[in-house]
């Protein structure tokens, strides 16, 4: 029952805002719908925690601890982002960068986007999963080009084409999956249900699944932003409105990776390789490592703050992919933890960056100086967020990096030099660029009125807490999820 709320509310919100969105209180309505979604998600989560995995609508939806935790995360970040976007978009509008109609488009597609992601997470049908992923892309394309500047158009175009092509590959992978499945499960609806596939995964034809996984990995991997398929990501993040950058980084990438993981489980089953040394695991480790290194070196060259943090998202997604690739209880646990931490931290950073760029009137980092003098809260938010994302304890990102790196050192020592170099370069680059933005003298004006930094500090507070103390039920939940991923 909760499930229908979870999916229905944002959908309804989308339609409602499409009709009424240009009114004065659209932002509040937007936030309200997100809040309701969050509540519904909370109820759903509570139910899963006590009852364990459930099937809804005779197997069309399947919720286990893996995706319910992503549902909760998505709903939460969606809500905080809506809170943040309220004053942010208002300021944008005052600056005359946006019109009422575009705000209407923004608000409704925002809700649709959330709905699509929640659907992708909860559906049991690999085909629907694909459909909703594509839907999520389409919902955000027009948001990326919201400002109608040449740059934003270009970014949106690249986003559309590259992700479209990528997702097409994913569809082919899905077809191959079906192709292999219908022999065992017979044609018709059930053959694409993940639970059924999972049940018979040992009998699935290995060679077909290998091919299928390649297509799925390339397809969804494009959306995860794995190098060298990542090229749309920095543009889209840099040119779209900041709330969208936040949800793209914080949520969409997770959902795409979720899709990859669902398929990985099946492939591992078919090839009989559970513990990471299978073909799927190796591919993911390879992509992950490559992404980490490439991203780290690209970060070094950035001059645009949002672009830089976009690359840092690629880096962290690479790290998570690497962790999942390694497999095993600790690594998968760490991967899930890192997903959470990255979503919370990165969105918090984008919130802070958003206001920073607003007060500086530019996204160029040379233009942003000495935030801590004029807007202390923004300054501290950015500083702490950066420190957190760079994996400095006691923030939670460190906890997952600690587990990932030590495990890697134990199981795949060859990989650690790359990780060491990449982390070092990334740290030097990001921190070296953020420090002068936060510290030092400045000529920046204050923001017209109090920015909404509550979300920033809520997120950072959570990250800090999870670095020092993971509540037991959350931990169990992670453990079950890790077990599902073949830990």
């Amino acid at each position: 029952m909760e499930l229908y709320w979870v999916l229905g509310i944002p959908l309804a919100g989308g339609l409602f805002l499409a009709l009424w969105g240009s009114r004065e209180h659209a932002p509040e309505i937007n936030a309200l719908f997100s809040l309701l979604t969050l509540i519904a998600a909370g109820l759903l989560t509570a139910r899963i925690v006590e009852e364990g995995p459930i099937m809804v609508a005779d197997g069309w939806f399947f919720i286990d601890s893996f995706n319910v935790f992503l549902v909760a995360l998505t709903a939460f970040v969606a809500f905080t982002t809506a809170l943040f976007s309220r004053p942010y978009m208002r300021i944008e509008r005052e600056h005359g960068r946006l019109t009422a109609t575009r705000l209407r488009l923004y608000h409704s597609s925002y809700q649709i986007f959330i709905a699509a992601m929640l659907l992708a997470l909860t559906t049991n049908n690999m085909g629907i999963l694909w459909v909703s992923m594509e839907g999520a892309t389409l919902a955000t394309v027009l948001l990326v080009s919201l400002y109608r500047t040449p740059a934003s158009l270009e970014a949106a175009w690249k986003y559309f084409i590259l992700c479209g092509v990528g997702i097409a590959q994913a569809l082919f992978g899905t077809i191959l999956l079906y192709f292999a499945a219908e022999k065992i499960l017979g044609s018709g609806g059930t053959a694409l249900l993940w639970t059924h596939l999972n049940g018979v995964k040992e009998q699935l034809e290995p060679t077909v699944l290998q091919l299928a996984f390649v297509f799925l990995l390339v397809g969804y991997g494009t959306k995860v932003g794995l190098a060298p398929l990542h090229n749309w990501l920095p543009d889209a993040h840099a040119e779209g409105p900041t709330p969208i950058s936040a949800v793209l980084s914080g949520l969409l990438l997770n959902v795409a990776l979720y899709a990859v993981m669902r398929s990985k489980v099946l492939v591992d089953g078919a090839l009989g390789t559970g513990d990471g040394n299978g073909m799927a695991g190796n591919l993911m480790m390879g992509f992950g490592l490559l992404s980490v290194v490439v991203a780290a070196f690209l970060i070094k060259r950035q001059t645009d703050v949002k672009r830089m943090f976009a690359y840092s998202s690629i880096e962290h997604m690479g790290l998570v992919t690497f962790a999942f690739g390694m497999g095993g209880a600790v690594a998968s646990f760490a991967g899930l933890l890192h997903m959470t931490m990255h979503s919370l931290t990165k969105s918090a950073i984008f919130f802070a960056v958003g206001h920073a760029t607003q007060s500086a009137g530019t996204q160029a980092m040379d233009g942003i100086r000495g935030l801590i003098r004029t807007n202390p809260t923004i300054g501290w938010g950015l500083m702490l967020g950066t420190i957190a994302i760079l994996g400095v304890p006691p923030f939670g990102v460190f906890a997952s990096e600690f587990l990932i790196i030590t495990t890697a050192m134990h199981q795949h020592p060859w990989a650690t030099p790359f990780l060491l170099i990449a982390l070092g370069v990334a740290f030097a680059s990001i921190f070296g660029k953020v420090q002068p933005m936060v510290f030092g003298e400045t000529t920046l004006p204050r923001l017209p009125y109090q920015p909404a930094l509550m979300p920033v500090f809520i997120h950072l507070g959570l990250v800090l807490m999870l670095g020092l103390f993971v509540p037991p039920y959350l931990a169990d939940w992670y453990r079950q999820a890790a077990a599902l991923l073949g830990g």
Binding site: W157, K158, I161, L162, V165, G166, T207, Q210, L211, F213, V214, F215, L217, V218, P228, L229, N231, W232, P234, M279, L283, V294, F297, L298, K300, G328, A329, V330, I372, I387, L390, V392, P393, P394, A399, F402, I405, T406, T407, A408, M409, H410, L420, G424, V425, F427, A428, F431, G432, Q435, P436, F439, G440, E441, L468, F469, V470, P472, A475, Y478
Partner: protein, 686 residues
Amino acid sequence: MAIVFPSGFPTVFPPDSTPVEFAWAGVLFWLALAAAAPFLRRARGLLALAPALCALGALAMAAIGLAGLLAPASAIVLPFGLPDLPFHLRLDALSGLFLLLLGAAGFGVSLYATGYFRHMETGALAMVMLWYPLFLAGMAMVILADDAYAFMVAWEVMALASYFLVTTDHAIPDIRRAGFLYLLIAHIGAVALLLAFGVLQGGAVGEMEAYTFAAMRDAEQAPFWASVAFLLALFGFGAKAGLVPMHVWLPEAHPAAPSPVSALMSGVMLKTAIYGLLRVSFDLLNVQPGWWGTLALALGLVTALYGVIFAAVQSDMKRLLAWSSIENIGIIVAGFGLTLIFHADGKGALAALTLTALLYHALNHAFFKGLLFAGAGAVLHATGERRMGFLGGMIRFMPWTAWLTLIGALAIAGLPPLNGFVSEWLLLQAFLLTPGLSQPYLNMVIPVAAAAVALAAALAAYVMVKFFGVVFLGQPRAPIPGQLHEAGWPERLGMLWLAAGCVLLGLFPPQVIALLAPVTRLLTNQTLVNDAGGAAGWLLLAPVSSERASYAPLIFLLVVLVVLLLVFVWVRRVHHGRARRADPWDCGFPEQDARMQDSAEGFGQPIRQIFDGFMRVERETPDPFDPHPQYRGDSRDKLWLLLYQPIADLAARLSALVGRLQHGRIQWYLIYSFVTLIFLLVFVTR
């Protein structure tokens, strides 16, 4: 396993509570102070009191450390941390000793800070008082941690807190640069440590429990991987301790911080790295090949000489002290290497001797370096001037500071009967005992290495004469801004405490060594016997045998004092005490003025001349018509150019290369995914 506090907070101590619980309580106290600080902006008075509270906590911590040193090891598990890996804390003799060090030095410094921070503007003070107790707590936790995660968290919190303290006045670009360099190298070092722990994790790998030190202790380690772990640890801890060539951040960061913080960083934080080295290589690793020791010894000696040479040519007093910290760390690490050598060679007693020496030196350095930074800080506070070229004659304006600093200077210069001499004496004794070793080449090389230590010690004297002479003696080299005020009472008390430490540690070596015994027993299963024989035992120090070598600072001091008094009395009785004041003579040269004294550069000139090869000198020769010419010769180390610049360039080149990937043409991006797809298809179906 002792009891776990409800929610980790000790409401009231049960009668059977162990030292480690008290230690945890102390940490919580500091954390509470830190948490309270931002809310005290309104209540300036309370805020100004915070350092004093820190000092109290430190004093308690010292007592707890002492207890932990003498009591059997105790441990607790905190109710938080990672899900299956809650924070493990353990207080054994080794931790106890370093906790004692932290507490004792921290007490003096914090007392000093009470006065030093008094004049700060409220907002800044609130920030400082947020990070300062956090810094103390972080260091304490590093020493107490008993699992890899807790250790790393504490380690980085320590680094982070100190970073924010270093960048207290971040308006100055140099300070920002220093802070950045510091945090960067600290972080890279931390990642190295992470990898080291990754190698060390033992027991059931893949279980969280594998990260506890207990599991690491009884994991069996392949020699190769053990060596990998050791090298990683040496790199990581060396980066924190300022071991050449990872030292570049130290001379930048330590001077940049407010003086009490510099004192803590040099005096205590560097020791946590030494603690880590000892913990990992003697406690966690259970094999120690000899070549580790040789490596550490070489590194240590190079560091010692490098540091002291550069200290001699500095012209900024805090930078000079920072370089001298590098020297002392070098000496300590050399002792560490020697310990490893003896240990690997099965010479337990000798290992105990060197271990004692290095622990002793660590203890000493905490005191005199804290004292010196405090003194320098007082001068800086009074004159607002760090460049020695503009100072001088401070002893007339601030006698307290001057005389107390003199004690520190003499101590660090390794002069009897103060504490610096004792540890160096022990170390040299150890060097002289190497002929027992099995490898002949070591026998030959090591006494020569002793020469390097001797050289470093002698140069240290040079450095300190320069430091004290230029800053405190002679005439002010530049007009003094306003009227100079002597350091206030809290500062004086803090410095008094530290100075007392220098003197007492110098005068009672037998007792101190007895105090160190549990640690040496813990790490080498051996203790240093003081074979001074019964009655003389309490004043005579004879580490190996009284035949071999002995030293009794008390007698020493007594004789000097007696002779001194006798001579004085005799001169006054037999002759007279008449004296009259006049202008200085200086060979009758009339136009005598202050600018004719040696400047800091001038005093360092001979050293610069001799060791020209090591350094890159940037000279500013004044223009001939300048009425008040100022010569500036800034000697920086070449290592920056030779080692770090190339790395930076390489990274830049690589990123330029990678940057080509992202050149904007969508067709190319499509080609990437296309090629990737084809490649993978070929790859899986090959």
